[in-house]
């Protein structure tokens, strides 16, 4: 058993490394796309089965967005990105509990040692995915902010002239705001990565130590952590959108 922070590559296409997380992510995306396609063709005014589940999830998310934005129109604008993040992250997180995680894989020789490369690795246990999501979230917040309150006002949040009322304090606060935008990238990506990677390691270790029954509570715990992390990611994205779309108070 060995644990690597980076996702292991299964094979290469040209110079492009195809990692196990990439494969898992693509599979999850494919499942979501197929499910949504089926949903689209079966949608009806009287909901049934699968449509009920999707509707209740989306409605709960929309209500959550409403509680943050206090405005239906704005919630509907933010909703697609937030909901996609939630659905995608929760499903990739729950890959953790799929049997065979970290145990079934290819045996590869690396640097003279035999290393097991598992087929399944939770998508969020790879910084590439979490950083990608963080980039999407932060960049869309900037775009939405500019689109909603205009470029000048939005830029005015970060670049404050030192000649007006709070003088240098205002300029300094603006600079801190700017830095915090970049800090968001790091906090977003490392929070999700840390939680899910730790969960994976925990599950692998538990399974390695006591193969029967003992890992069960940890599986439930990981289901819960996966849900919470997805919710936190989506919620923070929503809050940052709202903050970006609100004019500065000073």
């Amino acid at each position: 058993m060995d644990i690597s922070i980076a996702a292991e590559s299964l094979f290469h296409i040209g110079s492009f490394p195809v990692t196990n997380t990439l494969v898992v992510t693509f599979c999850i995306s494919l499942i979501i796309i197929v499910a949504s396609y089926i949903l689209k063709n079966r949608i009806s005014l009287v909901p049934k089965g699968f449509q009920n589940i999707v509707e209740s999830v989306l409605e709960a998310l929309l209500n959550l967005a409403d509680s943050v934005t206090q405005d239906r129109k704005q919630s509907k604008k933010f909703f697609p990105i937030v909901a996609t993040i939630f659905i995608f992250v929760i499903l990739t997180n729950w890959v953790e509990v799929v049997p065979g995680l970290g145990t079934i894989g290819l045996n590869k020789m690396e640097e003279g040692k035999q290393v097991l490369v598992p087929f399944i690795r939770s998508g969020a246990a790879d910084l590439n995915l979490t950083l990608a999501l963080a980039l999407v979230s932060v960049i869309s917040a900037q775009v939405l902010g500019i689109a909603m309150i205009g470029f000048r006002k939005y830029a005015g949040k970060f670049f404050v002239s030192p000649l007006h009322k709070p003088y240098l304090v205002g300029t300094f606060v603006g600079l801190l705001e700017l830095i915090s935008e970049f800090a968001k990238l790091i906090s977003f990506s490392f929070r999700l990565f840390g939680n899910i990677f730790a969960g994976e390691v925990l599950l692998t270790v538990m399974l390695f130590l006591v193969p029967y029954f003992v890992p069960l509570p940890f599986l439930f715990l990981e289901l819960f952590v996966g849900f919470i992390q997805a919710l936190v990611f989506a919620m923070l994205t929503l809050v940052f959108f709202k903050m970006a779309a609100t004019e500065a108070a000073h």
Binding site: S4, I5, A6, A7, S15, F16, P17, T19, L22, T25, F26, S29, I32, I33, S36, Y37, L39, K40, I43, S44, L45, Q51, V54, E55, L58, E59, L62, K76, F79, P80, I81, A83, T84, I87, F88, D126, L127, N128, L129, L131, A132, L133, L135, V136
Partner: protein, 162 residues
């Protein structure tokens, strides 16, 4: 920096692949799931609201029509009572009228009959008178046994009878 990134497993190729993957997912979900589902939710909400409103209205209308029915029944009852009363009065009236007419008719008949009787009586009296006259003449003739003169005779008889 690049060493740190590679230690953490960050590879710009993978990063871009993940971003593209997410954007594709976002687009597909937007097209297939959010649009239709949210539209459907809105539609359903509107439909339910409309249904509730309709039910409310129907309820109100029902109560209204029940009230109207009661009102109509009440009016009809009053009208019927009126008609009956009127016809009663009418009947009473016509009854007394008929009676009065009958009475006058009877009176008329009686009067007629009285007249007739009077006439008959007078006629009879004259007849009787003439009869008696001739009888008396005959008797007188028998008694006198002689006829003076027819004309004188009648004069005498007329005088004696009056």
């Amino acid at each position: 920096m690049s060493e740190l990134l590679s230690k953490l497993g960050i590879d710009w190729k993978l990063l871009i692949a993940q971003i593209v993957n997410f954007l594709v997912l976002l687009f597909v979900l937007y097209k297939f799931a959010y649009g239709p589902v949210l539209a459907m939710l809105d539609k359903r909400q509107k439909k339910i609201e409309k249904g509730l409103k309709d039910a409310d209205e129907a309820h109100k209308k029902l109560a209204e029509s029940a009230d109207m029915q009661k009102e109509i029944l009440r009016k009809a009852r009053i009208e019927a009572k009126d008609i009956v009363e009127k016809s009663y009065v009418q009947a009473e009236k016509s009854k007394s009228e008929i009676a009065a007419e009958a009475k006058t008719q009877a009176e008329k008949i009686i009067a007629n009959a009285k007249d007739q009787i009077e006439l008959e009586k007078n006629k009879m009296i004259t007849e009787v008178k003439s009869e008696i006259g001739s009888l008396v003449v005959a008797a007188a003739e028998k008694i006198i046994n002689e006829k003076i003169d027819e004309k004188k005779d009648k004069e005498i008889i007329g005088k004696s009878l009056i």
